[in-house]
């Protein structure tokens, strides 16, 4: 009905929902949930292998031929750590599309935008397609675009908080401030939150906890797939305005009269 493709790093994606791989009750449940979400891009963390090696691996359940992997730099508190983590990810064969996180504080997990900006500059110079997780400040979003970010990913609310989009006004201002796609990352709690993000005009939504920690991750993943499509379509369809007063939906004319 409408083009709903998202272009990232020269690749086309039919789905505008990006999902994570953390915190699921089981790998099997994760596999089903990701399937149900319709996501084509899947975030992964880069962590030390447990030694001695062998044992189940995440990628036995997320087929890299089927999904585009999006390694993140979660847990990095400096630009240097984040950049080196991306180098590792590339060498590990996870590609050059990276979700860049430079965390500023362990309590809120808000980004350290200074380190983020620096790492974005370095990595995009190095040929990475950088998706930085940032705050909802439109000026910072523009700086990230100027530093080479392929996308800006403002938080809707703190990671894992489920508070939804706390400040839609700022998301709107970001959408007007940058030309690259805007993906809301973090904060989504339920389906309507994802729909709202898309209705604002965002290009996509990234989430992990909302699905993985729901009572039924597979059902929630389906809900999120539907909600992102619904929100996108509603945005394209052009919603009605808001009015304080009512307007009848049935004709005022032609009402039968029952004179007594």
């Amino acid at each position: 009905m409408y083009d709903t493709s998202l272009w990232l790093g020269g690749k086309e994606f039919k789905s505008r929902l990006i999902v994570g791989t953390g915190k699921y009750p089981s790998f099997e449940n994760m596999r089903e949930a990701i399937e149900a979400s319709g996501a084509e891009i899947v975030t992964v963390a880069v962590r030390r292998v447990s030694l001695p090696g062998q044992g189940e691996s995440l990628l036995d359940f997320v087929d890299p031929k089927k999904y585009t992997l999006l390694p993140n730099t979660a847990g990095c508190y400096t630009a240097d750590e984040a950049v080196r983590t991306c180098y590792l990810a590339r060498e590990a064969g996870l590609g050059t599309l990276v979700k860049l996180e430079v965390i500023g504080d362990s309590r809120t997990l808000f980004p350290d935008v200074l380190g983020l900006l620096e790492a974005t500059r370095t990595l995009s110079r190095e040929g990475f397609t950088v998706l930085p997780y940032t705050n909802d400040d439109p000026v910072m979003a523009k700086k990230l675009e100027d530093a080479g970010a392929a996308v800006v990913m403002p938080l809707g609310a703190p990671i894992g908080s489920g508070l939804g989009i706390r400040n839609p006004y700022n998301i709107k201002l970001i959408l007007e401030a940058v030309t690259v796609p805007v993906i809301v990352d973090a904060g989504v709690g339920t389906a309507s939150d994802a729909a709202i993000a898309m209705e604002l005009g965002c290009d996509g939504v990234l989430m992990n906890t909302a699905i993985a920690s729901a009572k039924d991750p597979v059902a929630m993943a389906t809900a999120m797939r539907l909600a992102v499509e619904a929100g996108r379509l509603a945005f394209k369809a052009g919603r009605i305005g808001k009015k304080l007063y009512a307007t009848a939906s049935s004709p005022l004319e032609g009402v039968p009269e029952w004179t007594t």
Binding site: Y24, A45, V46, R48, G53, N72, Y87, E91, A92
Partner: protein, 66 residues
Amino acid sequence: MTVTVNGKPMEVPEGFSVEDLLARLKVRREFTAVALNREVTQRARYAETRLSDGDRIEIVHPMGGG
């Protein structure tokens, strides 16, 4: 000599290579990367890259995350 692998000390013989290390630790090669003292080691160089006493090695792979 002693090297540190993923934060843990480990005894290895002189001239031990990254390749030898991964082999001994039975590390799956697929989607795995290695950093030696802060620098990423290219897969192609595992065999020729010899470890020295005090080296710090990080061996990583993808894990569930968001």
